[in-house]
């Protein structure tokens, strides 16, 4: 079975992507270190990175898994608090401690993802949306009141955690962004990812083909929660102060808007819309009051006129683009021949 190549070799593709990404990191870091990008704009860029991770991670659950969780901010909160508690108590210096803090944030959020996912994923559609919403609110209430039960200060109630080491930098944020996109991309290209997509497209058919629905749904949901936790940990190190009020239903909706606008199931869509929706309001501070109204109207208008979002399920691939350049654009014909075989 010999087919004519229409793509550049996989490893080469990864190498090119990695090189470009490294160049981007070095360039960005250099610009910030040298002061060419002001402190304010570098903050905005970091926030963009955090929101990209949030959007891409929610996209796993909405776009690939086809569910509608409304408690994503809850996972972010869990990750943020877990890492912040670790960071404020650890004796380690910030540079080795922060990666551990991020991993702890992700792991705790993933654990919550499993705990919540197993019961929640038994339900579908609207019910799943509501039950995740309920869990998100419960997480908020627990963070608010847990100290009274424990008898010592853990989350510090409504006042929140303060003096969290501000360890988030451009470099570690975007390394996390790159890793998140890479891991989710490779997961979705693997057999596990295909199983998840099959469940989205037709659960009954996938189930009867022997795909373990509960396992793969929980897997997708947990991955989504893990990266939300990572974003939360970065956010804690970015903002320095945490309180439960910032992780309510509204935050979940804000992330959802990013995913829906970019196109559910498109990673590049999530990245683009997270970037635009973070950058534009920051640059247009004067119109901050209108931002939420515009968000809401965008959500309604997109659903009515282009329900698949701006990018649909399209994903940009550098390897594919290079392949087209090198091997000509006879891709379509060959694709069909390959399918027939």
């Amino acid at each position: 079975m010999k087919t004519k190549r229409n793509r550049i070799p996989t490893l080469l593709g990864y190498a090119i992507n990695l090189a470009l990404f490294a160049a981007f990191l070095i360039l960005g870091d250099g610009l910030i270190q040298s002061g060419a990008i002001s402190k304010y704009y570098s903050k905005v860029v970091m926030l963009i990175g955090i929101n990209v991770i949030l959007a891409v991670s929610l996209n796993v659950a909405t776009g690939y898994l086809g569910q509608l969780p409304l408690g994503h901010a809850g996972f972010m909160a869990v990750g943020a608090y877990a890492s912040a508690i670790f960071m404020t108590r650890t004796a380690l210096p910030a540079s080795p401690a922060f990666p551990i803090g991020i991993l702890i944030g992700g792991a705790v959020a993933a654990a919550f993802g499993i705990i919540i996912g197993i019961p929640a994923l038994r339900l579908r559609g609207d019910y799943l949306a509501i039950i995740t919403l309920g869990f998100g609110e419960i997480i908020r209430v627990v963070l608010l009141n847990i100290d009274d039960v424990l008898g010592f200060t853990l989350t510090n109630g409504a006042a929140g955690l303060q003096n969290i080491p501000k360890a988030t930098t451009f470099l570690n944020t975007f390394v996390c962004v790159g890793l998140t996109c890479f891991l989710i991309h490779t997961m979705m290209k693997s057999r596990h990812g295909r199983a998840i997509l099959a469940l989205r497209d037709n659960e009954i058919a996938a189930d009867s083909c022997g795909i373990n629905a509960t396992y793969y749904k929980t897997l997708g949901f947990t991955a989504s929660a893990f990266f939300a936790g990572v974003a939360g940990a970065l956010y804690a190190g970015y903002i320095g102060i945490l309180n439960p009020g910032g992780f309510g239903f509204m935050k979940s909706i804000e992330i959802l808007v990013m995913v829906v606008l970019g196109g559910m199931g498109s990673m590049v869509g999530s990245v683009l819309s997270a970037t635009v929706l973070t950058a534009v309001p920051e640059l247009l501070r004067a119109f901050a009051g209108y931002r939420m109204i515009v968000y809401a109207l965008l959500l309604i208008v997109v659903m009515i006129f282009k329900p698949s979002g701006l990018m649909g399920t399209y994903d940009f691939s550098l390897s594919r683009l290079l392949g087209k350049l090198f091997y000509g654009s006879s891709r379509k014909k060959q694709g069909k021949a390959g399918d027939a075989r």
């Binding site: 019910y127 509501i130 609110e137 627990v142 009141n145 009954i204 959802l256 309604i300």
Partner: protein, 295 residues
């Protein structure tokens, strides 16, 4: 105060908030029954109703009775307008799109209210000026009495409307099988509009009663109230009208008792915990009909 008196008072509190939840839950349930949409904006209609009551009384100095009319009518029109503008174009599209649109509408109403009226609360003048009644040594506040009576009357009227009129029959037919109802000559659009109007009118009544109990209007008041009413609708079995009533009272009473034992900070958590337990143990709710998925 004796223990018995405390218990009685808490039951009264529970029934008062429960009847408001029940009224709102009815709106959720009816809309879900007819187009299987979780109308997230329903809670925010209540918020708009409260603001309308405030505008009418504090700004225009209208008689409380007119203020109530303004609020209920405003809510009804708003509900129908939302259906026409946002939900109607999406008929036949995937449920997830409809749900996201509903979230968008809710988000829009909250933020529009915040822009127009500001983020801080506005206090609503007392709508009901009725003296407390003493019954067997226990005082029943006037607002509680009016709330219970109004809610009871509204539910009775609704039950008659749904079970004994032409429009009610059309509503039941559409919720049973939209396609078949259409073939039998039921006008689907009118029926859905009517359902939204009915649900929103109940929300309007709910908003007035809520303003009596908690005389404040702020842009996000509808979100939590709406979520809890929704929990009530799910608890009773979504799509079932008696279920929504039972669920509303159950949630109200549960909240009152959680507060009574001194755990009021956990009140919201308990409501959602009830929701989760219900969804896991009996997803169709107390009085709901089981649904089967077809291939």
């Amino acid at each position: 105060m004796s223990l018995l008196e405390t218990i009685f008072r808490q039951i009264l509190n529970g029934l008062q908030s429960g009847s408001i939840y029940a009224l709102v839950a009815l709106g959720y349930s009816m809309v879900y029954g007819i187009i299987t949409l979780l109308n997230f904006a329903h809670g925010d209609i209540i918020m708009v109703g409260a603001y309308l009551a405030w505008l009418a009384m504090a700004r225009l100095a209208l008689n409380p009775i007119f203020a109530v009319l303004v609020a209920v009518l405003g809510c009804t029109i708003l509900g129908m307008a939302i259906e026409k503008v946002a939900y109607k174009p999406l008929r036949g599209s995937p449920r997830i799109s409809l749900l996201i649109t509903a979230i968008g509408v809710s988000y829009f109403l909250e933020n529009a209210a915040q822009m127009i009226f500001g983020a801080s609360s506005q206090s609503i003048p007392a709508i009901i000026k009725l003296r407390a009644i003493t019954l067997g040594g226990v005082q029943i506040p006037g607002t509680a009495l009016v709330t219970l009576l109004t809610a009871g009357a509204s539910m009775a009227v609704l039950t008659i409307l749904v079970n004994h009129t032409r429009m009610g029959r059309a509503m039941r037919a559409v919720s049973e099988d939209t396609g078949a109802a259409q073939l039998m000559g039921v006008n689907i659009s009118t029926t859905i509009s009517f359902t939204f109007a009915l649900g929103s009118a109940l929300a309007g009544i709910g908003s007035v009663l809520y303003s009596c109990a908690y005389p404040q209007a702020n842009p996000t008041m509808g979100a939590m109230l709406g979520l809890k009413a929704f929990v009530a609708a799910v608890l009773g079995g979504i799509g079932s009208l008696p279920g929504a009533m039972v669920g509303g009272f159950a949630i109200g009473l549960a909240e009152a008792f959680v507060s009574a034992v001194g755990l009021s900070a956990w009140k919201d958590g308990v409501v959602f915990a009830i929701l989760i337990v219900v969804l896991l143990v009996r997803p169709t709710g107390l009085l709901g009909k089981p649904m089967h998925e077809k291939v």
